[in-house]
């Protein structure tokens, strides 16, 4: 129990710290790509910049527009922040620490529907933006909120379908199981990581993750040149800070999920030579390296690409991403069925071991129902 508490607190602190420093990283990455230096005057190499931003926002006048809905205006950023923080709970950050007496999972909760939990929490997150944008009583904010919600709904579907593909291959919704399935790096003449098995699925997931995080080229809800600030136009001080913070936390979590689902999470080549604490630490390092690489990719994309237009965004979401994801799902299903021997006459393939793993297809259908039910 105490260990769990420590993990919770540590995760909370690390997430916040990383999110804070991601703002700095974003500014630095942008600067490097633009032949600039970036923040360098707040502390050495600008390392105190996030603290300065936080300090400033904390002591800024807290402002509420006269016509805004008072409570919703406050709740909005709260929801955004809360949902983005709780998603980290189900991510396995490192290989379980096996001591002589017990096995300590470096994870807050190994729920067996981990990935479903993340999807659910993320889709609640949009309410923060919607409420915030709507309650500000500002047209630009409202536009941002509308764009955010429709974008979330559209891209969640494709994201869900691409996740299902992985779930089908793994046979489990638990993130720990998905990660463990990708053990090591090379096995049976092929890579173990899902990205090599499901490259299309990965691309779809990456794109939808960008959209879910409102990152460029999908940053329509707050696109500065059109909507001034989008949903947070009327927000100032720490409430704005919450929104911005939530965005970076979301990005961090998304990248962690990407590396867990597709890049083997804490697995790394040659991990079998280690054990115990070393393995845990090295695995954790591997996980964070992967995560940060994807964060860099996110930023890299943001500072390179122009953004879509609203209707093009919808077009891509519904007419491209979802069909691609569905076709991929279908192919995967056929391949799985084939390898499992469903097409051969003998029913051996439906062995006891297979039946134990929670009936992949059954799970999928129920999962999809929940999803559609949610979003419509």
């Amino acid at each position: 129990m105490i260990i769990k508490l420590i993990i919770v607190v540590a995760l909370f602190a690390i997430t916040l710290g990383i999110a804070a420093y991601l703002t700095l990283m974003e500014r630095k990455v942008a600067a490097w790509m633009q032949d600039r230096i970036g923040p360098d005057r707040a502390g050495p190499f600008g390392l105190l910049q996030p603290l300065a931003d936080g300090g400033k926002m904390f002591f800024k006048e807290d402002f509420r527009p006269t016509n805004a809905d008072k409570w919703l205006f406050i709740i909005g950023p709260g929801i955004a922040m809360f949902t983005s923080l709780i998603t980290g709970a189900v991510i396995p950050w490192a290989p379980a620490l096996k001591t002589a007496t017990e096995t300590i999972a470096i994870q807050v909760a190994d729920v067996n529907i981990g990935i479903l939990f993340i999807m659910g929490a993320v889709s609640v997150g949009v309410y923060g933006i919607m409420i915030g944008g709507w309650s500000s009583n500002n047209k630009f904010a409202l536009f941002g909120a509308i764009r955010a919600s429709s974008q979330m709904i559209s891209y969640e579907l494709a994201m869900g379908v691409s996740v299902i593909t992985i779930v089908m291959m793994t046979g489990s919704l638990s993130l720990t199981k998905i990660v463990d399935m990708q053990h090591g790096f090379w096995d049976n003449g092929w890579f173990t990581w899902n990205v090599f098995k499901q490259p299309i699925c990965f691309v779809v997931f990456l794109i939808t993750a960008l959209a879910e995080c409102n990152r460029a080229p999908f940053d329509l809800p707050e696109c500065e040149s059109e909507l001034i600030g989008g949903y947070h136009t009327e927000y100032g001080a720490m409430k704005l800070g919450f929104f911005l913070f939530a965005e970076y936390v979301n990005m961090f979590i998304s990248c962690a999920v990407i590396s867990a689902l597709f890049f083997g999470g804490y697995n790394f080549p040659g991990m079998d030579h280690f054990s115990g604490l070393t393995l845990t630490i090295l695995g954790g390092v591997a996980f964070f390296v992967k995560t940060f690489f994807f964060i860099f990719v996110f930023m890299w994309i943001r500072w390179t690409l122009p953004r879509f237009r609203y209707d093009q965004l919808m077009h891509i979401g519904w007419k491209k991403m979802i069909p691609i994801a569905l076709i991929n799902l279908l192919i995967t299903g056929v391949v799985i069925a084939y390898t499992e021997g469903w097409f051969s006459k003998s029913k051996d393939a439906e062995s006891a071991s297979n039946a134990k793993t929670e009936q992949p297809l059954g799970v999928n259908t129920s999962f999809e129902k929940t999803k559609t039910g949610n979003s419509l």
Binding site: A30, M33, Q34, D35, R36, K139, F140, F143, A216, P217, D219, C223, E224, S225, E226, L227, I228, W303, T304, L305, P306, R307, F308, R309, Y310, D311, Q312
Partner: protein
């Protein structure tokens, strides 16, 4: 979306699609306006039904001011018209004056002017195109191009001593010859610019996201554009190859070989492409002018009553001293007459209509400000499009507030 040019002729669409109609204030301080002007959009969701413009937020009474300033003090005022390419304005005004007093400047001055003016055109188009990039969300191209623009500013600085509002050149020539540093910097610029420019081009031009965004955004047909009085790159994007440099050559533009890039539909992508190509053509012109620069004086010796004598002469020669005082006091007589002179500014035909009554100040000086004239087409161009298109159209029209409001 709307691949066909906008057929909606009325400023306001009467029929509405289902849903509620809202008004949205684009400006005065909206980030997309890059300057200060207001558009009140009527929108149904993201779709724009109509727009009402308000301009005049930085009306500075240029024309009235010009009636109160002696001729040689008007050059600094013209700087502030289209401040992205102020040397073109300066030289347009100087050429107008030269036309009025009837002086032929040496060929070398013409070539020097061409170099400076084309540099200004490059700077102007770079600002416009990189800002289109910013408005689509790609900030990085903007920073690449601004580094190049900074080099152009350094070149101005070598010639005249200022970066943006240059006050470059004088009636009858230049205030000083190109310095050795200028030559070094210009050569370096000519050598390296293309590489960086190509990079910017690669970043956006054939990127499908960018193409999807810009193709069909804010289109206008050639006929309609002419009706509205479009000139410059925006008209050429609509397919009409009207260019003052070719139609009524001034400052020896007839000596140079360049093509006039045109577009087809007059949408944002056309405007972007036309400007990109114009930058390349300008570079070609600069190279031609620089390599064939004739020998000679950098000012016309024929106009002692307008071109300041050297300081050394002022101290030693009575005549020079008198001219000096007369020029500075603005007491030199000018012919009574009426001149219209047009140059190809960054945004189109920049005209100077000068009525002189022989006094020390212009009797009436009217600027033909291309922005002011074509910006009125904006509501028509965006009707039926989305807010994002409106923003892009605005930045691709390159509406410069200083020129818009005068």
């Amino acid at each position: 979306m709307s691949d066909t040019p906008n057929k909606n002729k009325s400023l306001f669409a009467d029929e509405t699609i289902d849903g509620q109609i809202a008004t949205l204030n684009l400006g005065p301080t909206h980030p997309a306006t890059h300057g200060i002007f207001q558009n009140v959009l009527t929108v149904d969701g993201e779709k724009i039904l109509g727009s009402v413009q308000t301009v005049g937020y930085i009306h500075r009474a240029f024309e009235k001011l010009a009636e109160r300033r002696p001729y040689n003090q008007i050059t600094p005022i013209t700087d502030r018209l289209n401040y992205c390419s102020s040397p073109i304005n300066n030289m347009g005004w100087e050429m107008t004056m030269e036309k009025l007093i009837g002086v032929q400047v040496p060929k070398k001055v013409d070539y020097m002017r061409v170099i400076i003016m084309e540099l200004a055109r490059i700077a102007d188009h770079l600002v416009c195109n990189s800002v289109i990039g910013v408005d689509t969300g790609a900030l990085t191209g903007f920073t690449y191009m601004f580094q190049q623009r900074e080099l152009i500013y350094e070149l101005y600085e070598e010639v005249c001593g200022a970066r943006l509002t240059t006050n470059i050149g004088r009636i009858g020539g230049f205030e000083r010859d190109f310095s050795p540093t200028f030559h070094v910097k210009l050569k370096k610029f000519l050598k390296e610019f293309n590489k960086h420019f190509q990079e910017f081009d690669d970043l956006l031009l054939r990127n499908r996201i960018f193409m999807d965004r810009t193709i069909g955004a804010g289109p206008i047909s050639g006929e309609r554009a002419l009706d509205y009085g479009f000139t410059g790159p925006n008209l050429r994007a609509a397919g009409v190859d009207y260019d003052v440099r070719v139609m009524t050559p001034y400052s020896s533009y007839e000596d140079f070989d360049f093509i006039i890039p045109v577009g087809t539909q007059g949408d944002t992508y056309d405007r972007f492409c036309v400007r990109q190509e114009e930058v390349r053509q300008s570079l070609r012109i600069i190279e031609q002018a620089y390599n064939n620069m004739p020998e000679g004086s950098y000012f016309s010796p024929d106009v002692p009553e307008f071109y300041l004598p050297t300081k050394a002469d002022v101290y030693t020669k009575m005549e020079a001293l008198i001219y000096h005082f007369k020029i500075v006091m603005g007491e030199t007589p000018v012919p009574v007459g009426e001149v219209y002179h047009a140059v190809e500014g960054g945004n189109g035909e920049l005209g100077f209509h000068l009525i002189s009554d022989g006094g020390r100040t212009p009797y009436r000086l009217q600027f033909r400000r291309p922005c002011f004239i074509y910006y009125q087409a904006y509501p028509e161009m965006i009707t039926g499009q989305t807010i994002s298109d409106a923003v892009l159209t605005l930045s691709s029209l390159n509406v410069i507030a200083g020129e818009l409001d005068a």
